[in-house]
């Protein structure tokens, strides 16, 4: 069954084989969970939001007409579920406070993270968790999940230009942090 494309599975679910939806859950659970875990900062909330996202995807499947990839559509639902959970728990949503024109400051906690990091990789991923949500999600979706900037802008519901700016600012900020803590590139 793993050789089936997303669209073939969706068609099967739409024909009434609801159990086939488990194939889509299996295919995307780790990617979606990873994104939620980074947004919500704890596994229990991430699992709850993941369940909510898959439930919404299942019941909204008839509204999915294949205009975008299923993964992009699912990421969008997942992202919105995370935002709803954050809002309902009245947590501080940095992304909503930080406009695209404002610079975020990473310098306040990087020393603390540096002292507990074993390697540059460890340091970078801990720092990503400290970025404003949208910046972190752009990095995760672009580098780990391999989404294009167009797909990411669709997930975040923002323009392509804004998505690019988010990626560029995050990239430059993390690069500067690597240099500040002497994680120097290897010499040729």
């Amino acid at each position: 069954m793993n050789h089936l494309t997303d669209q073939e599975i969706i068609n099967s679910v739409k024909r009434g084989n609801a159990a086939d939806f488990s194939l889509l859950i299996d295919r995307y659970k780790d990617k979606a969970f990873s994104m939620l875990r980074r947004m919500l900062k704890n596994s229990l909330d991430a699992e709850e939001a993941l369940q909510d996202a898959f439930l919404k995807a299942f019941y909204g499947l008839n509204n999915f007409h294949g205009d975008s990839q299923f993964s992009t559509w699912l990421y969008k639902i997942t992202y919105n579920c995370a935002l709803s959970m954050i809002a309902s728990k009245k947590r501080k949503i940095e992304m909503e406070m930080t406009s695209i024109d404002e610079h975020f400051e990473l310098g306040n906690f990087d020393n603390e993270i540096y002292s507990t990091s074993e390697s540059a990789n460890d340091f970078i991923y801990k720092m990503i968790d400290k970025l404003p949500i949208r910046n972190a999600i752009v990095l995760i979706l672009f580098y780990i999940d391999g989404l294009s900037l167009n797909e990411i802008s669709s997930v975040l519901d923002s323009s392509l230009v804004n998505t690019k700016v988010l990626l560029h600012r995050s990239r430059i900020a993390l690069r500067n942090l690597l240099l500040r803590h002497n994680y120097l590139p290897e010499k040729r």
């Binding site: 780790d30 990873s34 699992e47 990626l167 560029h168």
Partner: protein, 171 residues
């Protein structure tokens, strides 16, 4: 963002033109810029090695149980609401026609209403004329029908209400 950072970003987005690449190479002759560029390369390599955080085990089974269970129970809701409204609509029809089809019963009903109105100290003549008018009856009947129908449609499509009802019914 300065020009060098802008070109660096374009380079790593694979979005750089030949002229911009030449310009970037000029910048890279400066050792400071070269260091920044290599640090970005290093960052790119770290980020691309990143892995997803795995979801907890057996999550598909748990979610599928929830999905299938959820499906059968929520489908009852629209049927329940639709039944109530259809019953109300039918009742209105039955009630109205039972008085308009039989003149004697209609008159009896009107007399009862007149007596009631009189007891309330309201002029019975104008009210009696109003009630006996067939056009008013048809308008009233149509309004009740459309009002109930629009209530039905708005309630069934109201997601928050649906969720609330499901919540209180233990779903």
């Amino acid at each position: 963002m300065n020009k060098f950072d802008e070109l660096t970003n374009k380079y790593f987005d694979n979005d750089i033109s030949q002229n911009e690449l030449t310009e970037l190479n000029e910048f890279l002759k400066d050792p400071n810029n070269e260091l920044l560029f290599k640090a970005t390369q290093n960052l790119e390599s770290i980020l691309r090695q990143g892995k997803n955080i795995n979801a907890p085990e057996m999550i598909e089974e748990k979610f599928m149980n929830k999905i299938l269970h959820h499906k059968t129970r929520t489908e009852v809701f629209p049927i329940f609401i639709a039944s109530i409204f259809i019953l109300s609509i039918v009742s209105v029809f039955v009630f109205v026609f039972s008085f308009t089809d039989f003149n004697t019963r209609q008159i009896e009903f009107s007399i009862k209403i007149e007596q009631f109105i009189r007891s309330m100290n309201i002029s019975p003549i104008s009210f009696s004329l109003f009630v006996k008018n067939k056009i008013v009856t048809i308008i009233g009947l149509s309004s009740s029908f459309f009002l109930l129908l629009s209530f039905l449609l708005s309630v069934v499509s109201h997601k928050a209400f649906k969720e609330k009802i499901n919540k209180y019914s233990g779903i």
